[in-house]
Amino acid sequence: MESITLIRIIKTSWTNFWRNILLSTAATLVMATTLTILTVTFLIYSLTNVTAHSIQQKVDVSAYMKSQVSETQILAVKDEISNIPNVEEVQYISAAQALQNFKQKHAQDQLIQESLSELDSNPLPATLDIKAKNLSDYPAIAQALSDPKYQQYIASVNFEDNRPVIEKLSKILRITREAGIALAIVFGLIAVLVIFNTIRLTIYNRKEEVEIMKLVGATNWYIRWPFIIESVFYGITASVITLLLMIPVFQYALPKVGGYLGISGSAQSILPFGIGLLFVWQLAIALILGIFSSLFAIRKYLKV
């Protein structure tokens, strides 16, 4: 008996899907649109995060060492700085390396090249480039570097020069990130409401049928299953449509935007997980919302 019921339920769902093809199509499209908006919001958020991270990678503070400090001492200081909280990385650039970098950077500038060749000693100090985990960590790190124990080694730290830029950037990134989260929440809520309402409409359309089923002795689950399975049809179709809509976004839009922002626009670099998993997430959201909405919307008509 159980398997007859199962087959019958799936058949009923399928028939309902096709008999109400206009409403089914509308419901599926609404779901696909909502999913697309959610996905795009998520992509924008990821894009912001990746961009923020890449900008952060370009920021560091440099500690210029005094000229008489030996390399062994510098390496000892480097280790010590690495242990300051929130320091991501410390890179040692020797005086010779610094000079070479400088020469390379200004290779086209005749005047600088000539001036440098006039000198018999290296005017550039050895440097420690320090990267923080977050932009907002720089003031604390600069503070730590001003500790008296470093005074005999460090000539100067360029943090104060960069301070206004770092603080402004830090603020912009924070606001962008918060706005992204707020946007995602708002669109998420809209998605829930729209999908709920759409499913409710499809059920309202058949409320008479539900009531009559109840009166001739259908159990609640016998009535619920076809609606749940219909929602599953909507969810799967909508997720596939959304994924198809995302193909041009991944193929053309993202690389373009990525290039503009100075980051790689490939799906791998922007998504925290693969496209496959993105589809799984879309499907999961569509199914959960659809099933939950069906169960909630049908409740009213089962009270006969």
Binding site: R19, E208, E211, I212, L215, V216, G217, T219, N220, V304
Partner: protein, 230 residues
């Protein structure tokens, strides 16, 4: 079979049923008469659980229906066939599908449904309309489909709420004949109606209701106005 003990049902502050006592036996044909609002429909609705009572109790084969859980109500309903005044046919289903639907709900096998539905439609006399939709049928034909649906799962009790309410006289009599035929096959029938001529023709038990109370009970009765309630 069914026993009402001091059954009371209240809608808002109006007593739809006021301490009703009634016993219905297996195989009986009972006509429940009275004007609109006398409580006939409410009585029927209580039997198959569309409404819940506010006082007293109803025993069906010695089971108090108040003790039947929400989840078991469907199984009670599968023992009862109901013919509604407004028929409640599904407009998008054919006569066959409307009847088959009730059997599907009750979990019958496809082969059994294919075999039984035409037979039931033949009993109610609309086999030729098997593939018609409700909007293609007359009132009397639709009512026959509704009766066929009520019979599909072989109920032991058939409740008919004003089944002739929207029909002309001839169709009314035909429906009544049909109900009697069903009763002769062993199904208990409760007919709620205010059609006096019909009831007078049956000459079976008549229960007269007035303002939520039973005011008169007659074996082989007639629908008559009760002197002290006029």
């Amino acid at each position: 079979m069914i026993r009402f003990e001091n059954v009371t049902k209240i809608y808002g502050n109006k007593k739809a049923l006021d301490r009703v006592n009634l016993e219905i036996n297996h195989g009986e044909f009972i006509s429940l008469v009275g004007q609109s609002g006398a409580g006939k429909s409410t009585l029927l609705k209580l039997i198959f659980g569309e409404e819940k009572l506010d006082g007293g109790r109803i025993l069906i084969d010695d089971v108090d229906i108040a003790t039947i859980s929400e989840g078991d109500i469907p199984f009670l309903r599968r023992k009862i066939g109901v013919v509604f005044q407004d028929m409640r046919l599904l407009q998008r289903k054919t006569a066959f599908e409307n009847v088959a639907f009730a059997m599907e709900v009750a979990g019958y096998m496809r082969e059994k449904i294919e075999k039984d539905v035409p037979r039931i439609l033949e009993i109610v006399g609309i086999l030729d309309q098997m593939h018609s939709f409700p909007h293609e049928m007359s009132g009397g034909e639709k009512q026959r489909v509704a009766i066929a649906r009520a019979l599909a799962h072989k109920p032991i009790l058939l409740l008919a709420d004003e089944p002739t309410g929207n029909l002309d006289e001839i169709n009314g009599y035909e429906i009544l004949d049909l109900l009697q035929k069903i009763n002769n096959l062993g199904t208990t029938v409760i007919l709620a109606t205010h059609a006096r001529d019909l009831v007078n023709k049956i000459r079976k038990r008549v229960v007269t209701m007035e303002k939520g109370k039973i005011v008169l009970e007659q074996e082989k009765g007639r629908y008559q106005l009760v002197p002290d309630s006029i």
